[in-house]
Symmetry: C2
Subunit: 349 residues, 2 copies
């Protein structure tokens, strides 16, 4: 029996009891509101947790990049939504191969995108991506979305499935309803309206017309989730166990976990320029990261940690932390159950 407090540091730990609570809570919400839950594996990049989510009732999974989908398919997962514009000959050839083995849904937001999917010959289902405010991807108006839906439906190898957006800000419901109405007026069925994002997930039923929820971060939680109320601290499953390696002066402690362990991502809703929450020392302020050092102001800690002390960090953002590490240690109550290779780590292509 190995305990996580015996492991070399820094190490990424995943509390399986907390994961199961998070999975059950989100599935129960979706079940209560008649929503299909399609978890986003970009957060954990682990076939093992994707299977857990499917067993709990998820309708399928989402992948952000095709490389993630290839890993999940190789692990036997057969219903994959790649929520990303697939552009260029490499991606289209790989998509065609993937679609030979699984049910594949893809997002599209441009005529170039539809033309590529058509050329690829891949037999896939297509959701038209809608820009309901983020300005990142998506068709710019309900009319443009409906026109693209018609272009998709005109391609024999493609099946138009519906619309997606990320996130779903106020107004997204009306936007999507208009796209759906225009598309139905064009004689097309709209089976799926899919929205995403953990922070506002628990209000998805208020958006109107939504059939599917895509969420990733909820499975692990992080400091941003604590701040936006989507995951309480005790359910933050992914934590980095770190060590104090220096106390350069009375007010400062330095941990062995820098941006190459925690990432430099901020956490919306927290003090800007802070990089995590120190569980054992909640008054500590993680106020800078070097690549391999976390700089901590311990001046307000009643009993600041000493060199050699082990501490636990809840990172600002769990998803990119998964992507930095070759393995994560799954445990229950601190007892190691599994060391999982992060199967889809680094699959940004």
């Amino acid at each position: 029996m190995t305990r996580i407090d015996e492991l070399d540091t820094p190490v990424v730990t995943v509390d399986l009891d907390a994961v199961e609570r998070n999975v059950r809570r989100m599935q129960a919400y979706c079940d209560a509101h008649g929503l299909e839950l399609r978890p986003h594996v970009k957060t954990h990049k682990l076939p093992e947790l994707a299977r857990l989510q499917l067993q709990a009732g998820a309708a399928g999974i989402c992948c952000q990049k095709l490389g993630e989908a290839e890993v999940m398919s190789a692990a036997g997962i057969r219903d994959l939504f790649v929520t990303y514009p697939l552009i260029g000959p490499h991606k289209l050839e790989r998509l065609r191969e993937l679609a030979d083995h699984c049910r594949v849904l893809v997002a599209v937001d441009s005529t170039e995108g539809v033309a590529g999917l058509a050329r690829s010959g891949a037999a896939v289902e297509v959701l038209v991506d809608c820009d309901t405010g983020l300005g990142r991807t998506g068709t710019p108006s309900p009319r443009a979305a409906a026109d693209l839906a018609a272009a998709v439906a005109a391609v024999p190898t493609l099946r138009f499935r519906g619309f997606m957006t990320y996130p779903a800000p106020p107004g997204a419901g009306a936007w999507l309803a208009e796209a759906r109405a225009l598309t139905r007026a064009d004689g097309l069925e709209v089976e799926t309206i899919s929205v995403g994002g953990t922070p506002r997930a628990r209000w998805t039923h208020e958006v109107g017309g939504v059939t599917e929820l895509r969420v990733g971060t909820y499975v692990y939680g992080d400091r941003a989730c604590i701040a936006n109320g989507s995951v309480p601290e005790q359910d933050c499953a992914l934590r980095v166990v770190a060590m104090v390696v220096s106390r350069p002066n009375r007010d400062r402690a330095t941990l062995d976990s820098g941006s190459k362990t925690l990432t430099s991502d901020p956490a919306a809703g927290t003090d800007p320029g802070t990089f995590g929450h120190l569980v054992e020392h909640p008054d500590a302020r993680l106020d800078a990261l070097s690549e391999e050092h976390c700089h901590v102001d311990v001046s307000r800690c009643p009993r600041p940690p000493a060199v050699g002390d082990r501490v636990t960090v809840i990172p600002n953002h769990a998803c990119p932390v998964s992507n930095l590490h070759d393995t994560v240690v799954a445990h229950r109550g601190g007892v190691v159950e599994r060391v999982w290779p992060v199967g889809a780590r680094g699959r940004s292509q």
Copy 2:
């Protein structure tokens, strides 16, 4: 013959001609000023480039984490300075094993650190880390540094070698001179005074008393290096080839390279909240990153890129980019020469 413009995206490319120019320039500077150059492999994490730096005249290499040193040792590199406090039984056991195979130098900044090194029985050379202003690690005063040097020298398995600091701000020379004088007064020889950091590297000879320069980022360059004048744009060797996957509106383009490809690191001396330099579209502003998307304001570009266009990003900070990717593509003039596994990627332990 494969060209980098035929590869799937996003892909990290390394221009070997630029690398060689950077290595030659820094080596020439050190040779001209009688400094030993000890390149920091945290930037590239590649045994192949460490060997290139050694062949060009470097005295040895630096590693930030023991895991990097283990990879470099396994690749046959035999003179390693681990510039990091090694604390805790796991690290000390691994250090002892490493020191059986190589010349190993280590940094120490606490009596706990010295006690651990003593207990380990590892036969290593030791530099006392000096906090000359950063407040990250290091002894807080020249007197404390000299006292720690004496503690090191009292341990039969350890050899006191000298002092190190990072970076070397104005005043570091006087700080280090005082530590050296106090240590000499204690009857100890100070063979090495080691300072680090690419931005101020070219003024190392003005610090006074320095014998060794530790630098990492100079080998690749990045947007921060362009801003601080240490590496010109044409010598920025590490670049990410990306693709435009969406043009959600007239003013916006979206690339397939987000924080999981480029990291969220800022670049000192550049517009805050921007995340890279777009070589083909210098008027573009990379103004946000999602995990897999780069959000680009193209409103000031005379000919903004279209969906499917390939573009080249010089990242804000090269070092964490290396650490995200399993491989980098080494090329000359765009013709692929090698695909290197990033040997020490993810070695944060």
